[in-house]
């Protein structure tokens, strides 16, 4: 059909409000992986520990101290017990973030999509915020949301004020912990994704960083317990003591672990500032 028969008319603004650019990017980034049945299955499996924890909560509130005598520390329903639960989620965080986060920037870089984004009326901050929100969403989906759901369940099944009091601060503690560690994971993973152009390599680097340093630190700590500081996910979990309280999970002081987490986040910001540019300029 010739061009003149196809017709063209200028855009007539409907008067509706446009979304913020970062939210547009985040929505698309969140929705796309949800098309995959495998990912939905993984998300469902990631909630199995929450069901187990829910059972523990129920029996503890029903049987009181008897439950603790049977299960020991494993059945702790205090703040420390919820940090233990977040530790159980570590493998799901590793796999889920590798799947949804590795290609977020690397694919755009491979297809010259970064320049396409930044030719629109948005800036680098919008772009990173949008991509970061995708990772945060999936991180929260397997950490914060189950904790909140468990607390809600606990409020419903507890019969006394003691139980309510026990669970009262946990949602806020979990929120603070998940915001800090989620931001750390997000910035590190985005930085890795911005360095490579092949999603599979980014995923590999992520797994090496996450699982590799965990294994390496376990071996190294046989010689010096302080070397647990090399454990990437271990430091994120140990920093949780700052928020939930209790004994440190390793020889590293929890405050130092929190500083390590913040250092990882700062490193991620530094890499992103250097890598997220519409044009590669050699300075």
């Amino acid at each position: 059909m010739p061009v003149y028969e196809r017709g063209y008319r200028p855009w007539e603004h409907s008067g509706r409000r446009a979304r913020a650019p970062w939210w547009t990017i985040a929505r698309r980034g969140i929705a796309e992986p949800l098309k995959s049945r495998r990912l939905l299955f993984l998300l469902a499996v990631a909630w199995v520990p929450a069901i187990v924890k829910g059972g523990i909560l129920y029996f503890t509130f029903q049987m009181g101290e008897l439950s603790r005598l049977i299960g020991g520390k494993w059945t702790d329903i205090g703040p420390r017990g919820f940090l233990t639960y977040l530790g159980w989620q570590s493998p799901f965080v590793l796999i889920l973030l590798a799947i949804v986060g590795s290609g977020l920037i690397s694919r755009d870089r491979r297809e010259n999509g970064l320049a396409l984004y930044l030719a629109r009326p948005l800036n680098v901050r919008d772009y990173v915020l949008g991509k970061g929100a995708v990772i945060m969403f999936y991180y929260f989906a397997v950490t914060l949301l189950p904790v909140w759901a468990l607390c809600l369940f606990g409020y419903l099944v507890t019969s006394g004020a003691t139980g309510m009091q026990m669970l009262l601060l946990i949602p806020l503690q979990a929120l603070a912990y998940c915001l800090v560690t989620g931001a750390g994971f997000t910035l590190v993973l985005l930085a890795l994704s911005s360095v490579g152009q092949r999603t599979v390599f980014v995923a590999l680097w992520w797994v090496l960083l996450y699982a590799g340093t965990d294994g390496l630190a376990q071996i190294m700590s046989l010689f010096s317990p302080g070397l647990q500081i090399l454990n990437f996910p271990g430091q994120f979990l140990n920093a949780g003591i700052v928020f939930f309280g209790g004994e440190p999970l390793c020889e590293v002081p929890p405050v130092l672990s929190l500083l390590v987490v913040l250092a990882y986040a700062a490193l991620g910001v530094w890499v992103l500032r250097r890598r997220i540019k519409p044009v590669e300029v050699v300075a």
């Binding site: 003149y4 796309e32 297809e111 044009v279």
Partner: protein
Amino acid sequence: MEATKTAVKPAAAAIAVRDLTFAYAAAPVLQDVSFGLEKRAVGLLGPNGSGKTTLLRALLGHLPLKRGSVTVMGCDMARDPRGARRRIGWMPERGGILPGMSGVAMVAYLGELGGMPPTDALQRAHEVLNYVGLADERYREADTYSQGMRQRLKLAQALVHDPDWLLLDEPTSGLDPRGRVSMLELMRDLAANKGFGIILSTHLLADVREVCQEILVLRQGRLLSHGRVEAAPPGATAQFLVEGFGDEPAFQAALREAGLEAVRRERLLEITAPADAGARLVLAAASASGFALRRLQPRRETLEDLFYQLVDDADDARKD
């Protein structure tokens, strides 16, 4: 076809560029480039590596400029990059397809990022895909498009938010002859009938001749020429090729008397005369000297002549 100095001053222009200077490391890529453009189709010409793509990137605000300013429809790119970019649609040469999305989803998504409400963006995505001729393929994954379809899709995403200017980087690159004709037809229609300003960066002079009314010629980061591609303006000169028989010295003397220059080029005389009255003066000189003309042929200066002349002159100046 001739390039004349532009009459548009940067301050009054739809796109105004002043003293644009940019360097990769120590190597200057753009040096003191200044021009002003009215909303029309402008060809950005230059040999490979002359700075065409870099200039487009500078117009998009993608480069940390050492010096200079870019204003698009009154919006300063440094102070209000969002406002300026809202008025620009960019079609990149390389890549430019977001993987894992259908054509319509990609165009709607980029429309939203261009500042459109979601429903407007989706409706408009359908419209522009129909306009560029991808209506039947809009639900297919963009990754599976042929090269011609990819180029059309990239044009559609540049159009979707209804910008004032389209920056097109080698839009006919990799197209077969039919695809190229179709893309040129679209660009011509957009510039001539739909009121878009177009900056067409290409090394294909034929594309510029087909679409553009104005040209910018870059060479090694410097603007060699900025002019209009049109008939020679009053006061300009034109060349005529003349062949005949009779008293040639007398004919040449009559030409000189009329103020015309004549140079012999093998069998032909090349006469430089005012473009508006040249033929009449040559005929009068021939009549006065009794020289019988066999051929009087205006020698048209093509865009290719002009381009190569400008580039060669720049090379000569550099050698000197």
